[in-house]
């Protein structure tokens, strides 16, 4: 009885869900397939099609042979640039956010809610608005067109999110823990290091995934503040497509896009379940 009334609705739900999933996955499928087709094949047939022979050489070319902006080392150096920006910026912004979140959630001090409000205000400032101030700052401290400059930007911009995440996680920690530790003689940093940090794994995983993904995928700052050999891979990909004026190299470009997307994909696959769990942490007791 129940199954009969249930089945049609269920089929409908699956249908709708499948359609939505297909729409979302279509671009990925096209890029993956093109990354395995030769240029000639793409040029003769259409952009959408099944590879006739698997052109794995596209990946080798994209990785280390293709010419971008007058050097022919593929996207490998730009991948390295992205890693050199993303890894330190993720670590710094996560640690600073954890300390800031800990301070505003578990220590009462004059103006604490104001400071928290101002830090999280950064979430609502459009990126374009921040370009000019950052240009001035980077110019004045001599970090224009350096990876260090990008690390600085991403560390500071990331604080809004990391502080928000960590603060919302730490408010659920009982204040009595802090008070007990104060009586035991521990100070601000010892309490953080010995008591709070060991409890923070779930939220730190969430924050790291979030920061890594965003900084790796970030494009505007990369393209604005760096050029040539200093660009992160997102900016280099554009240079790559601009460089191929004569013959479009769709196969190699697609392979480069896939390679550039791999790190964030891996991070998500490794930590995705913590991510979903962490975002809803505290929602249900």
């Amino acid at each position: 009885m129940r199954d009969q009334t249930f089945a049609p609705t269920r089929i409908l739900i699956y249908l709708v869900v499948s359609l939505i999933a297909a729409a979302w996955l279509a671009p990925l499928v096209v890029v993956v397939l093109n990354s395995l087709r030769t240029n000639e094949e793409i040029a003769q047939a259409s952009m959408i099609g099944w590879p006739k022979h698997w052109a794995w050489s596209n990946y080798a070319a994209a990785w280390s042979g293709f010419c971008v902006a007058e050097t022919c080392a593929g996207i490998r150096p730009y991948m390295l640039n992205s890693a050199l920006v993303t890894i330190p910026a993720t670590i710094f912004s996560t640690m600073l956010g954890a300390i800031a979140g800990y301070a505003v959630s578990l220590w009462r001090f004059r103006g604490d809610s104001w400071i928290y409000g101002i830090v999280t205000l950064g979430l609502f400032l459009p990126q374009q608005m921040r370009l000019l101030p950052w240009t001035i700052v980077l110019r004045d401290i001599g970090l224009i067109n350096t990876l260090t400059g990008l690390v600085l930007i991403h560390t500071i911009q990331g604080l809004s999110f990391t502080t928000l995440f960590c603060r919302n996680y730490y408010v659920a920690i009982p204040h009595e823990l802090i008070r007990a530790a104060r009586i035991d003689g521990a100070g601000f940093f010892r309490i953080f290091w010995r008591i709070i940090l060991p409890l923070s794994a779930p939220i730190l995983i969430v924050t790291v995934i979030w920061q890594f993904t965003h900084i790796w995928n970030e494009f505007l700052y990369g393209v604005t503040f760096t050029s040539g050999q200093q660009q992160p891979v997102t900016a280099a990909l554009i240079a790559l497509s601009a460089a191929v004026a004569d013959i479009p190299q769709h196969g190699v470009q697609s392979a480069a896009v896939i390679i550039a997307a791999l790190p964030t994909l891996l991070i998500y696959l490794l930590g995705g379940r913590y991510f979903v769990r962490g975002l809803t942490a505290g929602a249900v007791k």
Partner: protein, 369 residues
């Protein structure tokens, strides 16, 4: 020696005065219980003593030293919290040694202290476990171990038994009391449970509206409550209080409940010394439920005073029977032997212990006799 001395201590939040001029002197070795309903300021007072909160005015002295500007860790105190506040990521041993670690106590000394405390509290098998692997009672014990290992001048307990179930609470209550007797520590213990106060304290400070209503040993607080609040707060069920009229005849003071009614109750008070100014006036009479018993009960002393009163409700508890009756029209609870079950609606005889009646001034609510 005075272990803790609190002078004219006040605490204001914006326009709310939480503590209004508290004065307390606690001797070394005393078990002092701060008791009162929620919001009376007792926890705030404890936090100020601990240094976790600041007083608006007044001073706190611990061991003869003013500690108003001394941080908690340097006050020579240890505290046990309601939620135990055990560090979740540390083992029981690390929980106990964390304070010593912060104070840079040598490792060998730490080990000796842990062994000592673990033996005292019988938590040796638990030392390697995490708090999440412990039961409520075990956590409580570890929390006490963390305090004991410091061997402080002053122990502060903030409602430490409130999170335990009823049975365990009674066990731990006895254990804390025994511990106090064994090590002779000075303890300030906050609770809202008047039974904990009565059973454990050497002195009780009853608090209400940010003031100490009475500071005395448990027997005095129970027998001579300083005012109507204390009378009604301490004891379960609470003291019966009712309006009455104080008269004098040739034999001394007489209180009359329901004066002028056909069922008025006249009680002669022997050995009471009531100020003459109250004679002929309305007073509030207080009588504890255990001072009203079945008619055949003989309270030691003179000829028993027996009155007949209508029974409105009967509550057998097993150990005793609680009876709601009317004395001169006023409701009163009586505690009678368990095997007597008076008939509802009918009148029955009740013996009264008039030696333990309290009289209060209806205006100031203070005890007058």
């Amino acid at each position: 020696m005075t272990a803790l001395s609190i002078r004219a201590l006040s605490k204001r939040y914006a326009n709310l005065e939480v503590l209004k001029g508290i004065n307390l002197d606690i001797e070394s070795g005393e078990f002092t219980v701060l008791v009162g309903p929620s919001g009376c300021g007792k926890s705030t007072l404890l936090n100020i003593v601990a240094g976790l909160d600041r007083a608006s005015s007044g001073t706190v002295e611990i061991g003869g030293r003013v500690v108003n500007d001394v941080p908690p860790k340097d006050r020579d105190i240890a505290m046990v919290f309601q939620s135990y506040a055990l560090y979740p990521s540390m083992t029981v041993r690390q929980n106990i040694t964390f304070g010593m670690e912060c104070r840079h106590v040598p490792k060998a000394e730490q080990d000796a202290a842990v062994a000592n405390v673990a033996k005292l509290l019988q938590i040796e098998p638990l030392l390697g476990r995490k708090p999440s692997q412990l039961s409520g009672g075990q956590r409580q014990r570890v929390a006490m171990g963390r305090a004991l290992v410091r061997d402080p001048l002053l122990f502060l307990f903030d409602e430490p038994l409130s999170n335990l179930d009823a049975k365990l609470r009674v066990e731990m209550r006895m254990e804390i009391k025994r511990l106090h007797q064994r090590i002779g520590a000075t303890i300030v213990y906050v609770t809202h449970d008047q039974i904990e106060a009565m059973t454990m304290a050497t002195r009780i400070a009853v608090m209400h509206h940010g003031q100490v209503q009475q500071f005395a040993d448990p027997d005095t607080v129970y027998r001579y409550p300083a005012n109507l609040f204390v009378a009604r707060f301490m004891g379960s069920p609470p003291m019966n209080t009712m309006p009455a009229r104080l008269e004098a005849d040739n034999g001394g003071p007489v209180v009359v409940i329901g004066a002028g009614r056909p069922d008025e109750v006249r009680l002669r008070l022997r050995g009471y010394d009531v100020a003459a100014s109250f004679v002929g006036r309305e007073v509030v009479l207080g009588i504890r439920p255990e001072c009203i018993a079945e008619g055949s009960r003989v309270f030691s002393g003179d000829a028993p005073i027996v009155v007949s009163a209508p029974v409105e409700m009967v509550e057998p508890t097993g150990a005793e029977t609680m009876v709601l009756l009317r004395l001169g029209g006023e409701a009163a609870m009586a505690r009678i032997t368990p095997d007597i079950r008076p008939t509802l609606g009918a009148s029955a005889d009740f013996a009264l212990d008039t030696r333990r009646i309290c009289l209060f001034d209806p205006e100031t609510e203070r005890l007058i006799a």
